[in-house]
């Protein structure tokens, strides 16, 4: 056993830089570069602030999705869940406003977090206890949440009480030392997510469950529990996104959050997380959310594309960005 010392030395060797891991950031740099070249308004402070602030919703939800996906599942219900949680929060705040005043916002936010967690729990239990393919299970709950918000709003909309608008406004429009508040919240969520995923037992087990659930089970990891918790985290992230969202639009409608699930999954996958599970890239996810938002922004800023073709150009750019970071290695 002479080689022990050398091996121990190797254990401390620094992590190698991998081009593949840098992919999403390179792709982001690429679309930003395109933006700078294409349009002079792109690089203005206000525009950048707007884009980054807006990407908060998708980024926050996508952090949760990174957990769900890396644990080997998928959640299609996030967009509808977002609408449902938003609806519940607004109703709660409106109800409590007369007695609590502006504090109703806190109460409502708390209720939102609880409801989000419960929605996630429901998804998780259906998938794990019910042993139903996550795609189908969450497609089902997607319909359920969407129907609930439609029913709650009678097909119309649920606006927040006027009295709460002003005190609530800063949560989206305010800033801390010049950094927009939603960006601060996103950063906190991402840091917490990164910590949980990379630095805790839970994160480790989440990846193991996604990488090979059999092995995880044989190693004493309760795959069902890990996955259920991932869905709960997803629910909490949706609720946090909803808290930031309400002051921006001030209402919940049956179309709130529609198709966000696709954007969220796209952000996660562009970010380098494997859709089949086992590998998670939280920071990549954030880059993915930014890429999507920058592309949408460029579509508005530039005048080259017929309005009918915007979706096509967006599709092409996403594919090109993926190709670019595939062949950059």
């Amino acid at each position: 056993m002479t080689s022990t010392t050398t091996n121990i030395a190797r254990a401390e060797a620094p992590r190698r830089f991998r081009w593949a891991d840098a992919g999403p950031f390179l792709a982001l740099a690429l679309v930003v570069l395109i933006g700078v070249v294409m349009n002079s308004s792109f690089m203005t402070g206000t525009n950048i602030a707007n884009v980054v602030t807006r990407s908060a919703f998708i980024a926050i939800i996508a952090v949760g999705a990174t957990f769900v996906i890396s644990s080997g599942c998928l959640d299609l219900s996030v967009g509808s869940m977002m609408a449902f949680v938003t609806g519940i929060m607004i109703l709660t705040m409106n109800r409590l406003e007369p007695s609590l005043g502006a504090n109703a916002i806190f109460a409502g936010a708390l209720v939102g977090l609880v409801v989000g967690a419960l929605c996630g729990l429901a998804n998780g239990l259906i998938v794990t206890l019910g042993k139903i393919e996550p795609f189908i299970a969450t497609l089902g709950t997607m319909g359920i949440f969407r129907a609930l918000i439609t029913w709650m709003s009678d097909g119309g909309s649920i606006p927040i009480d006027r009295a709460l608008r002003d005190p609530y406004r800063p949560v989206y429009f305010g800033n801390v030392l010049g950094v927009p508040l939603p960006v601060v919240i996103t950063l906190i969520v991402v840091l917490a997510g990164a910590f949980l995923l990379y630095r805790t037992k839970y994160g480790r087990r989440c990846m193991a469950a996604g990488s090979n659930s059999e092995v995880a089970r044989f190693s004493g990891v309760s795959v069902a529990r890990v996955r259920t918790l991932a869905f709960v985290i997803q629910g909490l992230c949706v609720a946090i996104a909803a808290i930031c969202y309400i002051p921006r639009l001030g209402a919940a409608t049956p179309t709130t959050g529609q198709l966000w699930e696709l954007q969220v999954i796209t952000a996660v996958v562009i970010g380098g997380t494997l859709l089949r599970g086992g590998k998670a890239r939280i920071w990549g996810t954030v880059a993915g959310a930014l890429i999507l938002e920058v592309i949408a922004n460029l579509m508005v800023l530039s005048n080259m594309v017929s309005e009918y073709l915007v979706a096509a150009v967006q599709g092409v750019i996403i594919i090109l960005a993926m190709l670019a970071h595939r062949f950059i290695r």
């Binding site: 909309s157 209402a251 179309t255 922004n297 915007v310």
Partner: protein, 294 residues
């Protein structure tokens, strides 16, 4: 280019027939106005959701100073705040179709009247059916427009002996309307009339009725004044003798009215309500635009 006046136009993306018409008329207006007035730049932007529309407003006003904004809001509540923010930058605001919750923001308001669309159809139908009968209704995507039309319609029907057998969503989609109507026909042996709150859906309904061979259905009505349906009205179709206009061209009118002030005329302000008179074989000609996609 610096001294050009900029008119931004923010409208929903062309996801179904009527919004497709809106996009078409907005782009027509852009071409015509830019050709006629070299000092005006019209920027048309579509958005697929309220969220995206708010983003588009942010982007447009961050990129340049907007002299005017013509907007067809997705929903009233959600867009009121963002439009107000734009106005605070000194922009002339023209709102089309759905009014904002704070009307003070609107310099110009070209209003559609969705409640009237429903109500006028209902009145006509009630009269033709002699206040009796059984009808089924197809509604669109759960949004404010849909809600208002249904509300206008049902409020009138409540005052009659007409029974609404069923109301279901068909998402302003021809295909889903076809399916839904097939099922209505299977479910109800006697249907006197059908109302689809949009002409797109009406086409699907008619196809299903035709297939079933059922003859007791006296009327199948829509709304919006889609050109195919107006052709039917002009031809004196017995089942679809009327429609209600809800012309997507209202966006064009609003853009023109807004542009006027930059071509030397005084700014137009105030509220212009588009009525929803019935389109009948007699007046159909004036609602017929063969070149419009809608």
């Amino acid at each position: 280019a610096q001294d050009k006046k900029i008119i931004a136009v923010s409208i929903p993306a062309a996801t179904h027939g009527w919004t497709g018409g809106v996009v078409y008329h907005a782009e027509q207006a852009e071409k015509e106005i830019e050709a006629a007035f070299p000092n005006i730049d019209v920027i048309v932007k579509t958005s697929p959701s309220a969220e995206a529309q708010v983003s588009a407003l942010e982007d447009l006003s961050a990129a340049q100073k907007l002299d005017a904004l013509v907007i067809l809001p997705f929903t009233s509540e959600e867009l009121t705040g963002p439009v107000q923010t734009v106005k605070e930058g000194g922009t002339f605001i023209a709102v089309v179709d759905r009014g904002l919750t704070d009307p003070a923001i609107q310099d110009l308001y070209v209003a559609g009247d969705n409640i009237a669309v429903g109500a006028n159809t209902a009145k006509w139908l009630a009269e033709k059916l002699g206040n009796e009968g059984k009808i089924v209704v197809l509604r669109g995507i759960p949004t404010v427009i849909d809600d208002e039309r249904i509300q206008g319609f049902t409020d009138v029907i409540k005052g009659t002996n007409i029974e609404i057998l069923d109301i279901q969503y068909a998402n302003w989609n021809q295909d889903e309307a076809f399916t839904l109507m097939q099922d209505y026909l299977a479910k109800y042996p006697q249907i006197d009339a059908v109302w689809a709150n949009d002409d797109d859906m009406l086409l699907g309904v008619l196809e299903a009725v035709k297939q079933s061979g059922r003859t007791e259905i006296k009327y199948a009505l829509g709304g919006n004044g889609m050109k195919d349906v107006i052709e039917m009205v002009m031809a004196g179709d017995p089942v679809t003798p009327i429609s209600t206009p809800y012309p997507p061209s209202m966006i064009k009118s609003a853009i023109y009215m807004t542009a006027a002030q930059f071509s030397g005329q005084a700014p137009m302000r105030g509220s212009f309500k588009l009525d929803a008179p019935l389109i009948t074989p007699e007046n159909a000609e004036q609602f017929y635009f063969p070149d419009s996609p809608f």
